[in-house]
């Protein structure tokens, strides 16, 4: 059997403190219910600068400049112990908010994003210097609207403002007078997802020297619904993002599964490549503006910076077996079935233990697990605990129940088979996929044999089912054989020849009366 491979991975972050203030749902809800609250008054003081975001160790891990293990033992709190970071990463980059506003304009095909002439002229050379987007694309920044017009639209609730340091510099218009699915707020959220998705795809192409014309298909796995009042989740962000990055030979579609979306998407892509339908499939997602500052109330209460100011993005290229890149074992896929049950024990059994047992592997045969990888510094102060550590303990406890390890070695298991969480709390973004880039590198460097990526989704949030969801797959070192199917079929042919020969001999013997 031959397997598809993970050819490349890219990761980006966008520093978005003003978007946090305007679009984070914790903040917008508070503004609605308690407009004069102390939390709203003090929150702006708890936002951090772009430099602070760049020099934040978990962000450097996310874009590939540090290994996740380096966080282990690194002095805490991480926000008070900055590293000497770079906005450019091995896997991608960290973009400041002003450039991102420019990118919103660049990816906008319906003239819904308006920027003031002063602001546009400031950021155009900054974006140009990054060398990610063409002169034709940058020309979008030459179409501007006077600030007075922008102010009027925002004041009349016809548009949502784009702010920098409290100053209005642009806006996103509503795309329809009455359709709430095309309101300024929804269009804004969707454009944030599109722009951060395009940013990560552009980085994937640039960092890995990929010809965008070689990409056949794109699967987008964020949690936004693209459509209008007649088809709220019609799609298709995948194709919209591919268009920005000149993937002219690609089509695509959006796969949804809450936080499990990326893992589902990767399995879809692997199946397409393995079946020979497409040769190069990119699975990607941009990030979410709604989730910015989700736990900021607790962060403020604990007198720490509102660290959930990063919009995330990831992109992974799945290709035909090249004999070098790590493979995805399409024959070892764990799934949380409708009948699996929703207790943590049932979930771990279904998505971790069952696929391994069915394939003669033990839990301890997996070098590293990649479950939800939220940065604990964001979640612990909010009472949600250290999510990756809880997952590692659960997987370890399952290994104890299976008799693979001793109960006293549970913590050692968590350390040996896990990594500290480092991803922003952007729903689908932390769910397993942030470790893929590191896993690919470790396997290629011969430091790792196999890893399990786990996606989990809280389907009940949409109120259509109270089921949980989860799906897992294994990334493994490439055996170097790319023609296994051919070899297999040769062996099969030989076996058939021998069977036929045996049958003919039996017939000949019976005819001869022997």
């Amino acid at each position: 059997m031959t397997y598809p491979v993970i050819k490349a991975a890219a990761y980006v972050l966008v520093h978005a403190p003003n978007i946090l203030l305007e679009h984070g749902t914790t903040i917008t809800t508070e503004r609605l219910l308690n407009p004069d609250s102390e939390y709203l008054k003090v929150l702006p003081k708890y936002l951090r600068s772009f430099d602070d975001a760049v020099n934040y160790a978990p962000n450097q891990v996310y874009i590939g400049n540090m290994k996740p293990e380096e966080l282990r033992g690194y002095p805490t709190p991480w926000y008070a112990n900055p590293v000497s970071g770079s906005r450019d990463g091995k896997y991608g980059e960290i973009m400041p908010e002003d450039e991102f506003y420019g990118l919103l304009r660049i990816v906008d095909r319906f003239e819904l994003v308006e920027l003031s002439p002063e602001f546009a002229s400031q950021i155009k050379p900054k974006i140009e210097a990054r060398n990610l987007f063409s002169a034709k694309q940058l020309a979008a920044l030459d179409k501007t609207l006077d600030l007075s017009e922008i102010e009027k639209m925002v004041a009349n609730n016809e548009a949502d403002g784009l702010y920098l340091d409290g100053k209005l510099v642009g806006c996103v218009r509503a795309a329809h007078e009455t359709d709430e699915n095309l309101s300024a707020h929804v269009v804004f959220e969707n454009l944030v997802s599109k722009a951060s998705g395009a940013l990560v795809l552009a980085n994937l192409i640039k960092k890995h020297g990929i010809n965008p014309l070689d990409i056949d298909y794109i699967i987008e796995t964020s949690e936004e619904a693209i459509g209008d009042m007649n088809q709220r989740g019609g799609g298709n962000l995948a194709k919209a993002i591919g268009e920005v990055c000149d993937c002219l030979n690609a089509t695509g579609s959006d796969v949804r599964g809450f936080c499990a979306g990326p893992a589902h998407g990767i399995i879809h892509a692997c199946a397409m490549v393995k079946a020979g339908v497409f040769k190069n499939v990119v699975v990607l997602a941009g990030g979410s503006s709604a989730k910015l500052g989700m736990n900021s109330r607790d962060h403020v209460k604990k007198d720490m910076p509102a660290l959930e100011d990063m919009v995330g993005g990831y992109a992974i290229l799945i290709s035909e077996n090249d004999g070098v890149s790590p493979v995805v074992r399409t024959d070892i896929v764990g799934k949380h079935k409708i009948a699996s049950g929703s207790s943590p024990q049932a979930v771990i059994q279904a998505i971790v233990a069952d696929p391994l047992e069915e394939n003669g592997l033990k839990i301890t045969d997996i070098d590293v697990f990649a479950p939800e990888l939220q940065n604990p510094e964001l979640t612990v102060p909010a009472g949600a605990g250290d999510v990756p550590m809880a997952n590692y303990k659960m997987i370890g406890a399952m290994a104890v129940k299976k008799g693979e390890i001793d109960k006293k070695d549970l913590m050692m298991f968590a350390e040996k088979h896990g990594v500290p969480g480092f991803a922003p709390t952007q729903g689908h973004i932390p769910s397993g996929v942030p470790l893929v880039g590191h896993v690919v590198d470790e396997i290629k460097e011969g430091k790792m044999q196999r890893a399990m990526i786990i996606g989990k989704g809280s389907l009940f949030l949409g109120r259509m089912t109270d089921l949980f969801d989860g799906i897992s797959f294994i990334i493994e070192k490439n055996s170097g054989k790319t023609e296994e199917i051919k070899e297999d079929s040769e062996a099969l042919k030989q076996e058939i020849r021998e069977l036929i020969a045996g049958a003919i001999k039996e017939v000949a013997d019976s005819l001869a009366g022997r």
Binding site: T29, E30, L33, N34, R297, G341, S343, P344, Q345, A346, I348, G383, A384, G385, A390, K393, M394, A397, M398, V400, K401, K407, L410
Partner: protein, 104 residues
């Protein structure tokens, strides 16, 4: 506790009577278990949900406090793994403390 759950608990208590409702919590962290318990006893401390200023004074336990009442086979299948993972003593202590604080 999210708004939808607060609304459901409020509705259930109104329908069946506060004395006939027991809330069982499965939270993983003592802090969130405590906050949930506080919400169903004396009201939403974040002043955001339907239980704001509503003191239902419901009976509330963490599932680990009820181990003796659960069929051992069911407990083994559903909870034994999490018993290894979570700080059961801290969870039970938090529940006892919050019940005392709330006078329940």
């Amino acid at each position: 506790m999210d708004m939808a759950n607060q609304a459901r608990i409020k509705e259930t208590a109104e329908k069946y009577g506060n004395e006939n409702v027991v809330v069982v919590i499965g939270a993983a962290e003592p802090e969130s278990a405590g906050l949930t318990a506080e919400t169903v006893m004396v009201g939403d401390p974040t002043m955001a949900g339907p239980l704001t200023n509503v003191a239902l004074k419901l009976k509330v336990f963490h599932i680990f406090e009820l181990k003796d009442l659960i069929d051992p086979a069911v407990y083994d299948e559903q909870l034994s793994m999490m018993e290894m993972v979570l700080d059961v003593d801290a969870l039970c202590e938090e529940m006892e403390n919050i019940r005392k604080e709330c006078g329940c």
